[in-house]
């Protein structure tokens, strides 16, 4: 056994490929980790913007969350339709490319690449951020912790998706389980106390009110809170990874993921409002995450609290794994259309797309170093990429229904059209509201990536033209038998 075998495992045969495919139970952690863990930073991103409104601001979380959950349901129906329409894997790239043309496809591809790179960076930095706020002694080592976790996830993925699924399943189910128990127990306490529960662990004093509420502020709160939706597209990209019948298994997986996410978002908002939990300033001493305060308020800071916090830490840092499952597949699809170097389409010794995994690790690692692992600075970049991809995918589905007029095409087109409209508005709001805070980086990344795609394709085309040969060899000058 050599060193490479030890790290990434023995090589697998091409004919072993079927064994690498998965069902819903394994699919939920692999494709749902990113979506579900968004519940840990989405509500918090919204509540952070409500800090200037003081304790009064907390009650606005209910209408904002209702709007976000409504959007989630619209997006859910859209992707359910997409999975059935594109069983070979219908990511935003495929849908936009087929229905809106090659240019829109490239736009979606660039947006998705940004989305995946930031999924990794945000997941890891948020996980480590939670860890260092629980154990402040680790604060000086934030960057090395982030890079260390990135290396571990990269190696797991180079070993192959099935084994990664087993490793990621336990924290995912623990995370969802502890949060559901917290929400259930908290709701009972709210009802028993007649709507005014006493927190078990004391909450920090609410911030003073420094601003009056405005529609613009609520719009920004909504835009930030929408980061809770990131990652729900993963299933539709990876339909091929499922066992037969892949469409049914993928749909079942998506349904469970969306249902759990909606429950988590609704439950967290309800308890935050009932207990009056206001966000604390990130980066300041005394910072505590919303979920930490929430679980502490319901159960106190005992064993359950630490189990729950540990699972949040794990799930947040591992949510990066969703991107590791999808980024290489997307790169391969792009490379097959000659827009990326062909190396992205080669499967390595473990049947995984080695180049995609390594490039994703390098790019997200670069972002982590550039932003010194501060989640707050990464979130605006994240939202733009994710929602641009949502918008293009759903706009593409509208065109799909117009072309293939089935029995209920108008209804389907309306669902997707509404989704495209709302996610499109979200992109604009995030771009305007968060432009100076980092959204401009994505705005720069996307067109530059598109230029790169076109250059690569142009180059491959010119090489293909030049080496194409219709001449037979000249055998006259060849050596003869002695």
């Amino acid at each position: 056994m050599n060193l490479l075998d030890l790290i990434v495992g023995k090589p697998l045969k091409t004919s072993d490929e079927r064994a690498e495919q998965i069902g819903p139970a394994e699919g939920i952690p692999i494709f749902g980790l990113d979506a579900l863990s968004s519940a840990a930073y989405g509500p918090e991103a919204a509540l952070s913007l409500l800090i200037p409104l003081g304790l009064l601001g907390v009650r606005y979380i209910i209408p904002v969350s209702s709007a976000i959950i409504t959007l989630l349901v619209i997006v859910y129906f859209s992707y359910r339709q997409t999975i059935a329409a594109y069983p070979a894997g219908g990511g935003s790239y495929t849908v936009a490319r087929f229905n809106l043309g090659a240019r829109a496809g490239l736009l979606a591809a660039a947006a998705l690449l940004a989305d995946y790179i930031l999924t990794v960076a945000v997941g890891i930095s948020a996980g480590v951020g939670a860890l260092v706020s629980a154990v402040p002694r680790l604060l000086p080592h934030t960057v090395s912790l982030c890079i260390g976790i990135l290396i571990v996830i990269t190696i797991l993925n180079l070993r192959g998706v099935r084994e990664a699924g087993v490793i990621f399943a336990v924290p995912t189910y623990l995370f969802v389980g502890t949060l559901l128990i917290t929400i259930f127990a908290g709701a009972i306490r709210v009802v028993l106390s007649g709507g005014h529960p006493m927190p078990v662990a004391p909450l920090p004093p609410p911030p003073p009110m420094t601003e009056a509420v405005s529609y613009w502020l609520l719009l920004k709160v909504f835009a930030s809170g929408c980061t809770a939706l990131t990652g729900v597209e993963a299933v539709s990209n990876g339909v091929k990874a499922f066992r037969e019948s892949a469409v049914d298994n993928a749909r079942r997986t998506l349904t469970v993921i969306i249902f759990l996410l909606a429950i988590l978002l609704a439950g967290i908002s309800f308890l935050v409002k009932s207990y009056g939990i206001a966000a604390t300033d990130p980066g300041q001493p005394g910072y505590q995450s919303i979920l930490s305060m929430l679980i502490g308020a319901v159960f106190g800071k005992g064993v359950f609290y630490y189990i729950a916090i540990a699972s949040i830490l794990f799930v947040l840092s591992l949510s990066a794994n969703t991107a590791f499952a999808d980024f290489p597949r997307l790169c391969r699809a792009i490379a097959q259309n000659n827009y990326l170097p062909h190396a992205f389409g080669y499967r390595g010794r473990r049947l995984v797309y080695t180049y995609g995994i390594v490039v994703l690790a390098l790019l997200s690692g670069g972002l982590l170093l550039l932003f010194r692992c501060v989640t707050d600075r990464l979130i605006p970049l994240y939202a733009v990429g994710a929602f641009l991809a949502f918008t293009l995918s759903q706009a593409g589905m509208v065109m799909h229904w117009r072309k293939h007029r089935g029995p209920h095409w108008l209804k389907s087109a309306l669902v997707n059209g509404l989704g495209a409209l709302v996610t499109g508005i979200t992109v604009v709001v995030v771009l305007v509201a968060k432009f100076a805070e980092g959204a401009w980086i994505t705005l720069l990344f996307v067109p530059l990536t598109i230029v790169f795609f076109m250059e690569v394709r142009r180059h491959y085309h010119s090489i293909k033209m030049r080496i194409a040969c219709r001449l037979p060899v000249c055998a006259e000058a060849s050596a003869s038998r002695p």
């Binding site: 045969k13 180059h459 491959y460 194409a468 037979p472 060899v473 055998a475 060849s478 050596a479 003869s480």
Partner: protein, 157 residues
């Protein structure tokens, strides 16, 4: 004690090996060069590849026929199976086995290569030629020689 100097028999011509992926100007130039070195040329193509069938048809048309027309033995095309999708290892293994079987003969490995205009374009194409050369240096013997057959995309003075 063997005498210092080139090993392998000088009375027999070398066996020439050439790795091919598909029919192109690069392949054509490489085969013509290989055929000048020796009448005994073996072309290796690693499967699985979507291009195998097309390559076999092209081979028949662009290589077999002209050689027969000139009254010469055409180079043989060998397909090497590769269940682990490795490209380099089956080729290296074939060459090592061949060298063991022909203990007195030298083997020349011709590596047809696309050479780009600009350094950064280098990353757009696989670098299997370089890898094959390194692998042969690492695992080969003193009767195995490698020759690069460059095909330049841009004009050269």
């Amino acid at each position: 004690m063997p005498a210092p100097g080139l090993r392998g028999s000088l009375s027999q011509p070398p066996i020439v090996i050439i790795a091919v992926e598909r029919w192109s100007h690069i392949t054509r130039q490489g085969i013509e060069f290989a055929a000048r070195l020796s009448p005994e040329v073996i072309a290796l193509h690693v499967e699985p590849s979507e291009r195998s069938d097309l390559l076999q048809m092209d081979w028949e048309h662009y290589v077999d026929r002209p050689f027969r027309a000139a009254g010469k033995e055409p180079p043989q095309l060998r397909l090497l199976p590769s269940p682990y999708r490795f490209i380099i290892i089956p080729i290296v293994q074939f060459i090592l086995d061949l060298s063991k079987k022909n203990a007195t003969r030298s083997i020349i490995v011709v590596i047809p290569e696309l050479v780009e205009d600009k350094w950064y374009e280098y990353f757009l194409h696989n670098q299997r030629g370089r890898l094959l050369e390194w692998a042969l240096l690492a695992r080969g013997n003193d009767r195995i020689f490698t020759v690069s057959a460059p095909w330049y995309v841009g004009k050269r003075p």
